[in-house]
Symmetry: C2
Subunit: 203 residues, 2 copies
């Protein structure tokens, strides 16, 4: 349809398509965002590109807890005031961030990276559970808080970890009131998360 | 709170904040997108950064019509099969894209870049209206379709352009049925836009 030598808008269309595959976005919202950015191409768009490239290059998993970080050890694990002997076990980083927004927990985290699932063939070695067991002795941990989602997979994982940690004599607690059955941590409001953390109970 | 020498997650937080300012996104959806990208940092995230940088660098306004493009003249203006003598005047690029999705129009476009507004001190020179008048004679235009939003500003702009083009004897039409009063073009479904374009009436 175009004459030879034409340059089409291939990259703009590729950008819209790539944006539309991001979670929560579709073709319409992606087009809107791309147009918004092209209008600010010298400022906001160039900055966003630089920041994305930099974070893509520098971000990694914290060697201690599995949090997303830009150094080998994340800011939470580096913070000496958080060496409280409490480790809060979460399914993924989104849950860690949700708990941090609640500001009720002042210990450290351990990100499992998923839930046990026989169906998806996800076993304990796939989930950083061995690393958790090592941390119990290495870091003088006195309490492990299992802040896992109130789903079947989450509770299966919690029971597995409680059994695995039983020989270490560490106190094991779980989030209490406020977590609705079938709900996912990342979607809870901060107040509910805070209340659930404060009223945690013996597992 | 952190010990000296700490590297915090400043760029990750800056990225979330920048994402949350994009149209249609907020803090929660921005966090979700950034986590999604960091999990795919070597692939999708790096590609997105490269594409954003490339589009930010190469995109510009078509010298003829004002469309967003990666060359001096956009693919539509370069396409000889679209030299039909019809120019469709739109408020902004989002409206041009909406009309293109309808696939009913085979002529060329003219993007005004906004609507006349005494309140915001936007006059004809701010809107590429002089360029439109030049195109009428330069391109042997026989019909100008005013595809402007059915808002007060859109219709004010349409009347101004119709008056300005009266001496040129060019036929002036406007979108007909289907455009809801107070509605904006970019939010219409493709079928409605197509119907409105097919049933365009003498302005």
């Amino acid at each position: 349809m175009h004459s030879p030598g034409d340059k089409d808008n291939g990259e703009i269309e590729a950008l819209i398509q790539m944006m539309s595959r991001l979670p929560g976005l579709g073709p319409r919202s992606a087009r809107r965002i791309v147009l918004h950015l092209i209008r600010r191409r010298a400022g906001q768009m160039a900055q966003l590109a630089t920041l994305l490239a930099s974070v893509a290059e520098s971000s990694r998993e914290c060697l201690a807890c599995g949090n997303v970080t830009q150094s080998d050890i994340c800011p939470i694990c580096q913070d000496p005031s958080r060496a409280t002997g409490e480790i809060c076990v979460v399914t993924d980083v989104a849950d860690l961030w949700a708990l941090e927004r609640g500001r009720a927990f002042r210990g450290r985290y351990h990100v499992l990276g998923g839930s046990l699932s026989a169906l998806d063939e996800i076993g304990p070695e796939d989930l950083r559970i061995p690393e958790l067991i090592n941390r119990i002795t290495d870091e003088n941990v006195t309490e492990v808080i299992l802040a896992l989602s109130a789903t079947v997979e989450g509770q299966t994982t919690a029971h597995y970890i409680a059994d695995a940690l039983a020989p270490t004599q560490v106190a094991i607690t779980g989030l209490a009131q406020g977590v609705p059955i079938g709900g996912e941590l990342d979607y809870l409001d901060d107040g509910t998360i805070t209340a659930a953390l404060r009223a945690r109970r013996k597992f």
